[in-house]
């Protein structure tokens, strides 16, 4: 069982300086924590100025999972990137609100595309600053 859990991983990729983390499996708390670690390690390796955590493929998110996901975004922000959580569906959003979940200033986007668009501004601004 543990071995099986260890083999389970969420793949992530970097596109135009943004780390995209598409979560397409039902998350367990352990897996979510592993994703958190992987994301932070990847950000530490450099070459990433933005992170989008896309949860559009996750049908059920409880308050613990949501906390882990939003905390990951906050941690990535501490590492000097901009982080967005995208793809929360109507059902998930409604149930998290019922659970009194507080996103604490973590920006959210309706879709992965929108999330990347939000970060694009940040990335190009940084580049502009670098040019000056």
């Amino acid at each position: 069982m543990e071995e099986q859990a260890a083999a389970e991983r969420v793949s992530m990729y970097v596109t135009r300086g943004c780390l995209v983390v598409p979560i397409q499996v039902e998350l367990s708390d352990e897996l979510a924590l592993r994703v958190q670690q992987d994301v932070l390690h990847r950000v530490c390796r450099g070459g990433v100025s933005g992170v989008v955590i896309d949860v559009s493929g996750v049908m059920v998110i409880d308050s613990v999972l949501a906390r882990i996901i939003f905390d990951t975004a906050k941690m990535a922000t501490l590492l000097g990137t901009r982080a967005v959580v995208s793809g929360l569906g109507p059902g998930v959003a409604a149930s998290l609100t019922d659970l009194d979940f507080d996103p604490e200033d973590v920006p959210t986007a309706i879709s992965l595309e929108e999330g990347l668009r939000m970060l694009e501004g940040a990335v190009s601004e940084e580049e502009e600053e670098g040019c000056q």
Binding site: A93, T108, E114
Partner: protein, 135 residues
């Protein structure tokens, strides 16, 4: 969809003002059940249209009690989680009075005095401005 849901849908039209801007006028008395259904409809529509701003126009709501205000706040919180800002417009004087008297905190909702101002605010949020063209 049940017959009831259809009725609610008919009484709560959601208009697309612009790409990314939804307008939800609420007319009549809201009870908890209706508020719940309005929330479901609004969130589904936000997801379907990938909206970035939702304008809640409550001009047609005569009274707001604590429960209803909480439902409105819930709609905005859930919309925010989906990456959609909420603007409330058309708060009647009576409603404003009762909201403050009841100690309701509207949180991060952007209040606007009129629908016109709300639409201007919504356009600003998605990066547009309304200006007169010179002829």
């Amino acid at each position: 969809m049940t017959k009831e849901m259809k009725e609610i849908k008919a009484s709560t039209p959601i208009a697309v003002v612009w790409e990314g801007i939804l307008l939800l006028p609420i007319i009549g008395i809201i009870d908890s059940k209706r508020a719940q259904e309005i929330m479901e409809l609004a969130l589904e529509e936000i997801a379907r249209r990938e909206a970035r701003v939702l304008i809640l126009d409550i001009m047609g709501v005569p009274t707001v009690d604590t429960a209803v205000a909480n439902h409105l706040i819930k709609i905005t919180k859930a919309a925010k989680l989906m990456g959609c800002e909420c603007i409330i417009s058309g708060i009647a004087p009576m409603v404003a009075q009762s909201m403050v008297n009841l100690g309701i905190d509207l949180g991060n909702i952007i209040p606007c005095s009129s629908l016109r101002e709300a639409i201007a605010c919504a356009f600003e949020t998605i990066g547009f401005e309304i200006r007169k063209i010179s002829k």
